[in-house]
Structures are given as structure tokens and as C-alpha cells.
């Protein structure tokens, strides 16, 4: 018990990792490219958009040097579509993570191919933290891995930008009500998914058939329920341990009987006789 922290990452650590996500900013001032450990940032030229890491974008936002373009999935219409999908269409599964980047095939219209690093010269990163899933180009209607952290950070520090994006197409006129709308929808989404996480334990009921699919669950949700889910699975394992041991023994015996030829069977018969 050297480390009092539970296994896995804490919320603060997850949120720290989420600051590596790229977000789109609209700069207000020129800024030359900065040489960071993770690579060079694009040079900022005022009317042109650029993708920056979240921490840098928030820093510039606080200094009023840039505005952040919230990702499309943070729009109220996308969020309410997600809530609809989570509650009505797939009441038992989490909604899918964003699809891997695809590119339309010019020779066959209507068909798109997955971009991956193997058959493409441009190395497109496919794993969650390195994909630009929170930029303005991200697909709407899909929650990326760090959705909750990024959404909270944007709402807390760039609420006016979120409101501007939300109000531009919705009926709500004042910016505070638009932020409230997004915040409320996010709360609903968090609650719906937390309820799903709880009820997904019921999938472990049957012997052998127990499987909880956690596909599409965000990093923060994992941090929150990791200890609980692990404890449930461990408890089910302990309860099933004796049955499992008995089943193993049976299988072992069956296999030994198969392996032993007629000669072997004779021996065991003798033993029985004694």
C-alpha cells in the first residue's frame, strides 16, 4: 500500500492528458510557429484558422489573443441527437466512437476508403489521443475519447465562443442561455451514460455469457467507474471460482479418459478393484 491512489488515472490526470487534444482557433494576433516537444505549432495569421493543443488555445483565449472554434459535436443539435440515440435507438449500448478518417474514392463514387498508415503515404494517426477529434473538422454526432474533459474546459474558459457557435443556428438569442443549453444537454448525456454503466453490470449475470462492452466510453467516465467495474467483475469471478474449478476438473478428467487408450483403461479398472 505504498501509493494511496486507486489504480488507473485520476480525474485531474485524465484532464491533463486531454489538454493535448488539438482544437481549432481563430487567432486575433500574429504568432510565429513555436517549437514544442510535440512538434511545431502552425504560425498564426489572423483571419486563418489553425489547430493548436488545447492548453495553448486556452492560454491564448485567456489573453484574448484567439477565439476557439468549438468542435461540431459540442453543438446543441449534435448533443440532442446523441441523447436521442443513447436513449431511444440504442438504450443498452454506448454510442460509437468517431469513425476512422475516410477518404472518398474518386474512381468509384459513393464509396469511401478508410485511411490508414499502411496503404497511405501520409501517416494518419488512428488511435484516440492523436487524432484531431476535437477540431472544427471533427464529425458531429460522435463523442471522442476526451469528450467530457474538452467540453468542460471549453465551457468554463471559452463559454462565449461555444455560445456564439450554438446561437448562430439555434433560436436562443442570448449567449448565457445558449451556454446553459449546452451545459444542460451535457449533464443529460453524462447521466444517461452513467446509468448505462451501472446497468451494464447486469450483463455479467449468466455464467460464461458475462461481457460488458465499454466501446465508446470516454476517458473521464472510465476514471470515474473504473474501481467500481473492476470490483464487480472481481466479485463475480470469486463467486464463480468454485464452479469454474469444478468445470476444469471435469474437463481434465474427460481429456484424460480420451488420452488413455484401452491399455490405460485396464489399469484404472484395476485401481477401482482395490
Amino acid at each position: 500500500m505504498a501509493l494511496p491512489l486507486p489504480p488507473g488515472l485520476t480525474h485531474a490526470e485524465v484532464a491533463f492528458l486531454a489538454e493535448m487534444e488539438l482544437v481549432t482557433v481563430v487567432p486575433r494576433q500574429r504568432l510565429e510557429s513555436i517549437d514544442l516537444l510535440a512538434g511545431k505549432t502552425p504560425p498564426l495569421r489572423p483571419p486563418h484558422r489553425a489547430d493548436l493543443p488545447l492548453w495553448l488555445a486556452l492560454l491564448l483565449k485567456k489573453q484574448r489573443r484567439a477565439n476557439i472554434v468549438p468542435p461540431p459535436w459540442l453543438h446543441p443539435s449534435s448533443l440532442s441527437a446523441l441523447i436521442h440515440r443513447e436513449t431511444k435507438e440504442h438504450p443498452t449500448a454506448f454510442s460509437d466512437p468517431p469513425p476512422p478518417p475516410a477518404r472518398a474514392d474518386p474512381s468509384r463514387p459513393g464509396i469511401a476508403h478508410r485511411q490508414d498508415a499502411y496503404n497511405n503515404s501520409t501517416d494518419t494517426p488512428l488511435s484516440a489521443p492523436f487524432r484531431p477529434s476535437c477540431t472544427a473538422d471533427a464529425p458531429a454526432g460522435y463523442l471522442p475519447y476526451h469528450w467530457q474533459e474538452v467540453a468542460e474546459a471549453l465551457l468554463a474558459h471559452a463559454g462565449d465562443d461555444v455560445a456564439a457557435a450554438a446561437a448562430s443556428s439555434s433560436s436562443s438569442s442570448s449567449s448565457s442561455s445558449a451556454v446553459g443549453e449546452v451545459r444542460g444537454l451535457l449533464r443529460d448525456l453524462v447521466e444517461v451514460r452513467a446509468a448505462k454503466m451501472r446497468s451494464s453490470t447486469a450483463a455479467l449475470e449468466g455464467f460464461g455469457g458475462g461481457l460488458m462492452s465499454l466501446r465508446g466510453v470516454g476517458a473521464l467516465e472510465l476514471a470515474e467507474s473504473r474501481a467500481f467495474v473492476l470490483a464487480v467483475v472481481d466479485g463475480v469471478r470469486k463467486i464463480g471460482a468454485s464452479v469454474e474449478a469444478a468445470r476444469r476438473e471435469e474437463e481434465e478428467e474427460a481429456r484424460e479418459e480420451e488420452d488413455e487408450g484401452p491399455a490405460g483403461r485396464g489399469e484404472s479398472d484395476e485401481e477401482m478393484g482395490i
Binding site: A12, A15, V232, V236
Partner: protein
Amino acid sequence: MSYYDIDSILTDAEKIPCTFQLDVPDLGYLDNTPTQPLKSGTKVGLPLWLAEMLAIANTGDVEGKSFVSFDLPRALGNDVLQALKADPRAVPLRDQSAHFYALATRMMELSEEQELPAVLRRTFVTRASEIALHARKVGGVGHSKGKGAAEEGSNLGIGGAGDEFLRGLDEWERNLFRKAHDGAKAGKEWMEGVKKH
């Protein structure tokens, strides 16, 4: 189960109803008759660790009898199992035994009860999701003290109704509750801290 696991030690101390199969001299005091030998067929409640030893131990008897034969304790008796089958959430497991699941797993290792594992598994899983729900709600009540009365009121009903359920949790389930609650609490604390940085 580690050697120093206090819950495992306490589980070992749970009483199991045992029936002696042999006469044992000088053990009469177990049955409140100190002067006489303990007769075979006497029913005595023995702690699990002793019952396990005596049931397995080789007595050297010709017929291969062991010292004792044991039944399932009352906590795992038919009444409780029927109640669990009807509705796992309605049974206060702590009233049966504070280490209900630990005791049950130990008993399942010793006896070949067909029905027990399936019932227990269903019970555990059904109650787990209920526990997680309460863990979230109770955190809400505790947290909203001193805040708006409306928020407190919205959670109070659930917290009040859950008290009885939460009192009936055994040690495994309390552990689950603690973990779910810690997670929810950490989430809430982080959420409040976001605005400050």
C-alpha cells in the same frame, strides 16, 4: 485472500451448524455437559475454520467417517435463497451475515450445491447496479448541504428510501459502494475545480 486479510479471518469465525459423527471424549463442554463425552449425532455450531478441518480430517475410522458433517448455515438456507430468487434487492444480506458473499464462496468450495452459485451471481450483479445508483445519489445529498434547498430536496427522497437498502449491504457490497462513491465524488470535485484554473 491474503493471510492478513481481516475480512477473511472474520469469515473463518462464522458459525456453521455441524453434526458429530463420532463420540469424542472430553469435548462434552461444547454441548453443556462437561462431565460426559460428546455423543455422536450432537449438533454444535462450530466456526468455519474448525468445521472445515474436522470435516476433511482423516479419523482412521474403518467406515471412512469424518468427525463432523456440516449443513449450510442459516444465512445460506433455503428461506434466504428463495427470498433472493424472488427479489435480490429486498433482502438485507447484512442481517444474515456481515460477510455473506465471503461465507458463501467458502461454503461453495466445500459443498456441491448446484443452485447456489447461479442465485448468488444474479444477486450480486443486480444489487451492484442498485448500489452504484445509491452511491451517486448519496454523494449528491452529502455534497449539496448548505447549497440551494431545491437541489437538496430533489435528492433527499432517494437518499431516505435508500437508507434501509444501504444498511443491508454486506462487506463486499460496502466495498463496492465505497468505490462507486469515491469515483462519483472525485468526478464532482473535478467538475467544480475546472472553473478555477
